[in-house]
């Protein structure tokens, strides 16, 4: 088992990073009824861990007995029927699903499937809570219509069903939904917290940590705890005993993007742009989200750039990221950004060196 999973806190009491949130949640569940919840925060900050621990707190250990199901739904919408396939993960008391998996048809998932699930009260109440929980992942990727229908569902079936929503950024969740939920912001853990966790893991595994090693990992991993632990394990596999100067293996896609950045800096021409396109395709095929590609690319480019250009480049990156979200095909906009960068940089080079 990965360390990430092995040392994942199982209960709200074991939580190391967001203890305050955990305690609040515990109080909330034990003393009162649980409202709808919306967890948001950057990836690797522990949203999912908190949710799992919370479910355990509510339903006891039965929440951990899950089964994965791949279910087909036939949805009748007037003129035709739509076939949807969705993978759900469910225990007796909760169901977890990612409606955004079905793409632009997510509306029907929310309208029909979630409604159906929410309607049915759990059979086995046995003195437990009289409601079941629906965990929805990646709510921020839901389309606007889907979010609207979600709002209705929340209101109508709140007697028998609680929704726990999970997303990275609450800004893409409509106001209506946000106001119906208890919003829980899960911050990225600070570096100190990460170091603490890493040391905890190291102790449990019986490892000798050279001083400052955990700090280096924490620094490298951009305040994502998951990444930190994964890197830690990777380092362990790579070389043990640790040396304080040990290289921390970078993520392959990050390396790839920095390679792209080097390409861009080296030559600015349509031909090169074409090559870059090919490489971006490769990243996209690997399911690296386009926003992350753009962000990382900007990061890499800024590292190598003269200070006077940085401002402008940041502006354009933001501009094209916005357009990317509005648009449909990310590659168009990433490419436009690269082209813009190339053209600015080329003009700059000519101006400076003639």
């Amino acid at each position: 088992m990965l360390w990430v999973d092995k040392y994942r806190p199982k209960t709200l009491d074991q939580v190391m990073v967001h203890q305050d949130i955990a305690q609040n949640l515990k109080k909330l569940v034990t003393e009162q009824d649980c409202p709808h919840l919306l967890f948001y925060g950057p990836s690797g900050s522990g949203k999912k861990t908190l949710i799992m621990a919370l479910l355990r707190q509510i339903f006891g250990s039965s929440a951990e007995k899950v089964k994965v199901e791949n279910r087909n739904w036939k949805i009748d919408i007037g003129s035709r029927t739509i076939d949807l396939e969705l993978t759900t993960l469910s225990s007796t008391n909760h169901v977890e699903l990612s409606p955004s998996d079905v793409g632009f048809q997510d509306r029907y998932v929310v309208q029909e499937i979630i409604k159906e699930m929410a309607k049915n009260r759990p059979i086995d109440t046995k003195g437990r809570k009289g409601y079941k929980v629906l965990v929805l992942n990646e709510v921020d990727k839901l389309s606007r219509q889907a979010q609207h229908s979600l709002r209705r569902t929340m209101e109508k079936y709140s007697a028998s069903c609680r929704l726990i929503l999970c997303c990275n950024s609450s800004s893409k969740v409509t106001e209506a939904i946000r106001s119906r939920c208890l919003n829980i912001r899960v911050n990225a853990p600070s570096e100190e917290q990460i170091i603490k966790v890493l040391e905890f893991v190291g102790k449990k595994e019986g490892l000798q940590l050279p001083s400052g090693f955990a700090a280096r990992i924490a620094e490298k991993t951009n305040r994502s705890l998951r990444r930190a632990i994964l890197s830690f394990e990777t380092c362990r596999v790579q070389q043990y005993p640790f040396t304080s100067s040990q290289a921390i293996p970078p993520m392959d896609w990050e390396e790839y993007i920095s390679e792209i950045a080097t390409d861009i800096m080296k030559e600015q021409s349509p031909k090169r742009l074409f090559q870059v396109r090919g490489k971006v395709y490769e990243l996209l095929i690997n399911c690296i989200p386009p926003e992350i590609i753009l962000k990382r690319l900007l990061h890499e480019l800024l590292k190598k750039l003269d200070a006077e250009l940085k401002h402008e480049i940041c502006h354009w990156a933001a501009y094209y990221e916005h357009r990317m979200r509005l648009g449909q095909k990310a590659i168009f906009h990433i490419e436009a950004f690269v082209a813009k960068f190339m053209s600015i940089y080329k003009a700059f080079l000519i101006a400076t060196f003639g």
Partner: protein, 955 residues
């Protein structure tokens, strides 16, 4: 249509006809013809070489009969007989050229044709080559008009072949009922040509003007469908070319590139060239120039007394595309405006275009002149080529107008050398999304190497187009109008953006246009996603993957990657939650790659090539593309690393294995759920386990201890992931024993030998047939052999004191060596570490997959075990009873009444009383058996005794 309707003959003396009568005939002719076909069917077979003579009263009657019809048809009050009926006639017919001057065709061409005809007619037959002229040209350039005119000029009689209208089905049915056979139009044409070749046009003597020479015009070739028909047509035409002596003109209409299917165009070309090689002369007419069309149009306007602005005429002429017939018809339509009086100066108000230079006018009107224009179609690639190559005038021809919108130097572009982009888009019937994608894929090839700014502009505009296409996606499904507008706006932005942005086009040369790679990439992503969800969870239902198993099973292989991701999202989080694709992609996968690589390092060095073919990697496609001609735009091979290569090159070897083990899985699961179903593979595993136990000394007197069975169960489960219990294994053990005995007895015979490598038992057919008669079970051994015989020998052979087995000594000699450590059972080996590599892999994989995850599942499985036991018991009972009935039936068969009676008949000296008593006796099967078992002479005694006894008892 005008051409088809026109009179069939126009001999030289037609010239002085009244226009009205010309007109009348042109109306009536079609009807006449059709009525003839219907009323007088026998003529239908004749070629449509009808001729008209004024004497023919028949025609006059017809004309009268149809006058009313004409009126109704045309809706005019003027009767057909009227002189000056302006609007009644199509101008195309009305203003048919009557003199050389009126003919719009280029003088030289006309001269060429005319001189050819004159030469043909002057010289005696057969002195100069062939007497066939081919005139080709697009529709409406005046091919037939020229011929007609020339014929009338040189005073020749014109005979015209018009292709008959095809028979429609109803007509065919009607004809059939009337007893007329169907003849294909091609047949008709052939027979016509044949007649012309052999006899000339005999009918020319018909009207007593035989001295005048005759010209044959074949106006339209019959429609041919398919290669065979075309060949027939060609053969017959070539024959015609070779042998006819009547001056013949064959008119062939060229179709434009765009609107004819390639095949027909090719055939026509082929036909022409073959005719030419047969000696025909070919003259091709060009489209009529704008100026001559204009000249003719304005002449018509003058004669019709309608005032049409010069610009309009210009427009019409331009739109006609060199097709004069079309131009004239357009003009007539234009003049037919309800309010426009012919005598009034009109129409200036209707359409007024600013007088600008021709070019701009053209561009401006491009989209609007369609009411005159002929629809032209372009292929998508043609259109793309136009956009991408971005051909422009070398300089701005006309100085900008005073009131024109002024753009800065930087933003102004030279005028297009083509129609407006929207028109081209329209002609190409392109949809905006594909067009945008195509432009995106290809435009970079067409930019000059220095022009980075251009590249940005283009990319930015394409992005705009994408925004337009994406906005309101789905929202406006109901408002298709709006969506249409958006779509066309997007296409327009994309195209114009590309045209505008590409300010410094690279020097034009030939580029291949590629299919958007984006499509492939999107497809592979979404396709995987859809596919995988279904495949994933079926196999996950009862299994929980621990990390190690996961590592083994799902090394990150690009290609099925997203597929893997969805699997992974269940595995991560300890299988108790879903995780997001993005975090898997960006965090787990890379880390797992490292982990997996290091932990299994060295072990997986096998590098197979087949998985690289499964990888949907980009560089492969790039290399494919490089076969096309875009060398310079290709990235250098060395600079490319696919993501996997960077990560670690050594891990590829696992891909093939993954697929394999995945494939096995479902089948095994099935087995687990149903009764034990033994395959060769499983049997072999069991045999290996048994051998292992034998070597550990856990066999006592050819049976195994409880402990041994238990450890075997565990090992078996470990290796195959099947949780079968001791009884099931024991049953199989029994089967194996039987098999062993069978094979051994086989091999004891001299007819059979043992092939060690394949495990086959070899023997000739007769021997097999013989043996199988005795042992029906041996059938399977004959077909599939007994590959595990070695092990069986070890397992079942009588343990002689020194551990020497009769067969294993020589056959299974290598078995012990493959088991290095033979510890006694007390410490069960954790890893049975050294069988063949493959078995090891399988074992390892399964080992981790099948640990029961949660107590719930365990319970279920326990219940399942009981169910299985019950089922097995019932099945056993059923089998036993079946066996019993079979046995009974067999015994019955052997001691049947018939055979008894037969034996009885053979006995000598049976008294009648005894005989019948015996028959009674045979009702009892025991008695039958007794009877048949007895030796011959004792039978009678036994019978007599038996028969007396019952009779006594009875008595």
């Amino acid at each position: 249509m005008g051409r088809r309707n026109t009179i069939v003959i126009s001999s030289s003396d037609d010239e002085d006809y009244e226009p009205s009568s010309r007109m009348k005939r042109s109306y009536e002719k079609p009807k006449l013809r059709s009525s003839v076909t219907r009323t007088n069917p026998s003529r239908a077979k004749k070629p449509r070489l009808s001729r008209l003579s004024r004497e023919s009263s028949n025609v006059d009657e017809m004309r009268l009969a149809f006058e009313d019809f004409d009126e109704v048809l045309n809706g005019f009050k003027v009767s057909a007989g009227y002189r000056r009926s302006n609007s009644k006639e199509l101008w195309v017919d009305k203003y048919k050229p009557r003199s050389m001057e009126e003919l719009a065709v280029h003088k030289k061409k006309v001269e060429e044709v005319k001189s050819w005809f004159e030469e043909r007619l002057r010289t005696p037959k057969g002195e100069i080559g062939s007497s066939v002229l081919i005139i080709s040209g697009q529709a409406g350039v005046g091919k037939s008009a020229t011929v007609r005119l020339i014929a009338s000029q040189i005073g020749a009689q014109l005979c015209e072949w018009n292709t008959p209208t095809p028979t429609i089905w109803q007509e065919h049915v009607h004809n059939l009922s009337a007893g007329i056979n169907y003849t294909s139009k091609l047949d008709e044409f052939e027979s016509f040509v044949e007649r012309v070749r052999k006899y000339g046009l005999i009918s020319s003597s018909f009207n007593g003007k035989s001295k005048s020479s005759i010209i044959l015009v074949i106006d339209d070739l019959p429609v041919t469908n398919g290669r065979a028909a075309f060949e027939r047509l060609r053969r017959c035409l070539v024959l015609l070319v070779r042998s006819t002596w009547v001056p013949t003109a064959i008119l062939i209409t060229d179709y434009g590139d765009a609107d004819s299917p390639g095949l027909i165009a090719r055939w026509l070309e082929e036909l022409q060239s073959s005719l030419e090689s047969a000696g025909a002369r070919k003259v091709s007419f060009n489209p009529i120039t704008n100026n001559s069309i204009k000249k003719i149009l304005s002449r018509i306007c003058r004669q019709e007394h309608c005032n049409v602005a010069a610009e309009d005429i210009d427009l019409i002429a331009k739109a006609s595309g060199g097709d004069i017939r079309h131009a004239i018809t357009s003009l007539q339509l234009y003049c037919l405006k309800p309010d426009v009086e012919y005598d009034l100066p009109a129409s200036n108000s209707i359409l007024s275009y600013p007088k600008e230079n021709a070019n701009e006018l053209n561009a401006f009107n491009g989209g609007f002149s369609s009411q005159y224009g002929r629809d032209e179609t372009l292929t998508l690639f043609h259109a793309l080529g136009k956009f991408l190559h971005n051909k422009r005038e070398t300089e701005n021809v006309a100085g900008l107008d005073q009131n024109a919108f002024c753009v800065g130097e930087k933003f102004s572009r030279l005028p297009f050398k083509m129609d407006s982009p929207e028109k081209i888009l329209c002609q190409a019937h392109g949809q905006s999304r594909p067009i945008t994608d195509f432009l995106h894929e290809n435009v970079l090839d067409f930019l000059s190497d220095e022009a980075m700014d251009d590249a940005w502009a283009v990319a930015s505009y394409l992005g705009d187009a994408d925004l337009l296409l994406a906005s309101f996606r789905g929202m406006l499904a109901k408002h298709s109008e709006t969506e249409n507008v958006l779509q066309s706006a997007a296409a327009s932005v994309a195209v114009r953006g590309v045209l505008y942005g590409n300010f410094h086009p690279s020097p034009s040369r030939w580029h291949a246009i590629r299919k958007p790679k984006l499509w492939q990439i999107e497809q592979s992503l979404s396709h995987n996603q859809v596919n995988k969800i279904s495949s994933v969870s079926s196999s996950f239902r009862n299994l929980k993957f621990t990390y190690k198993a996961f590592k083994k099973k799902f090394p990150p292989v690009i290609g099925s990657l997203q597929n893997e991701m969805l699997r992974q999202r269940f595995i991560l989080y300890g299988g108790s939650s879903l995780s997001e694709v993005s975090s898997i992609a960006t965090e787990y996968t890379p880390a797992l790659k490292w982990l997996g690589y290091r932990t299994s390092g060295g072990l997986e060095t096998r590098d197979s090539d087949n998985d690289s073919s499964q990888r949907m990697s980009i560089d492969e496609q790039e290399s494919e593309i490089s076969d096309d001609d875009i060398e310079d735009c290709l990235p250098k091979k060395q600079t490319k690393h696919s993501l996997t290569e960077i990560a670690e090159p050594g891990r590829r070897g696992m891909a093939s294995r993954v697929t394999r083990s995945r494939r096995q899985q479902p089948s095994q699961q099935q087995e687990q759920q149903s009764r034990a179903r033994w395959t060769t593979f499983l049997t072999k595993i069991l045999a290996d386990l048994l051998v292992e136990q034998v070597h550990r000394g856990n066999r006592q007197n050819s049976s195994f201890s409880k402990k041994a069975w238990k450890s075997m169960c565990d090992d078996f489960c470990k290796k195959t992931s099947l949780k079968w219990d001791k009884e099931q294994l024991k049953n199989r053990y029994g089967v194996l024993r039987r098999q062993y005995v069978l094979v051994k007895s086989l091999l004891d015979q001299t007819d059979f030998s043992w092939n060690e490598s394949t495990g086959d038992v070899i023997g000739n057919d007769e021997a097999w047939a013989e043996f199988i008669k005795g042992h029906p079970d041996a059938e399977t051994i004959k077909t599939s052999g007994c590959p595990i015989y070695k092990q069986l020998c070890t397992i079942f052979s009588e343990p002689t004191t020194n551990g020497k087995h009769d067969y294993s000594a020589e056959l299974g000699g290598d078995v012990p060596s493959s088991l290095p450590s033979l510890e006694p059972l007390s410490t069960i080996q954790e890893e049975s570490s050294s069988e063949s590599e493959e078995a090891e892999d399988v074992a390892d994989d399964q080992d981790d997959t099948v640990q029961p995850s949660a107590p719930g599942i365990n319970r279920k499985r326990g219940r399942k075990g009981i169910d299985d036991a019950i089922a097995a018991a019932i099945l056993e009972m059923a089998a036993a009873s079946k066996l019993r009935t079979a046995a009974v039936r067999q015994s019955k068969a052997r001691y049947s009444i018939a055979s008894c009676i037969k034996e009885l008949d053979e006995l000598q000296g049976v008294e009648e009383r005894v005989y019948f008593a015996a028959l009674d006796l045979f009702n009892n099967p025991n008695a039958r058996e007794m009877f048949l078992s007895l030796k011959g002479d004792k039978r009678l005694t036994w019978l007599q005794r038996k028969c007396v006894a019952p009779s006594n008892a009875r008595g």
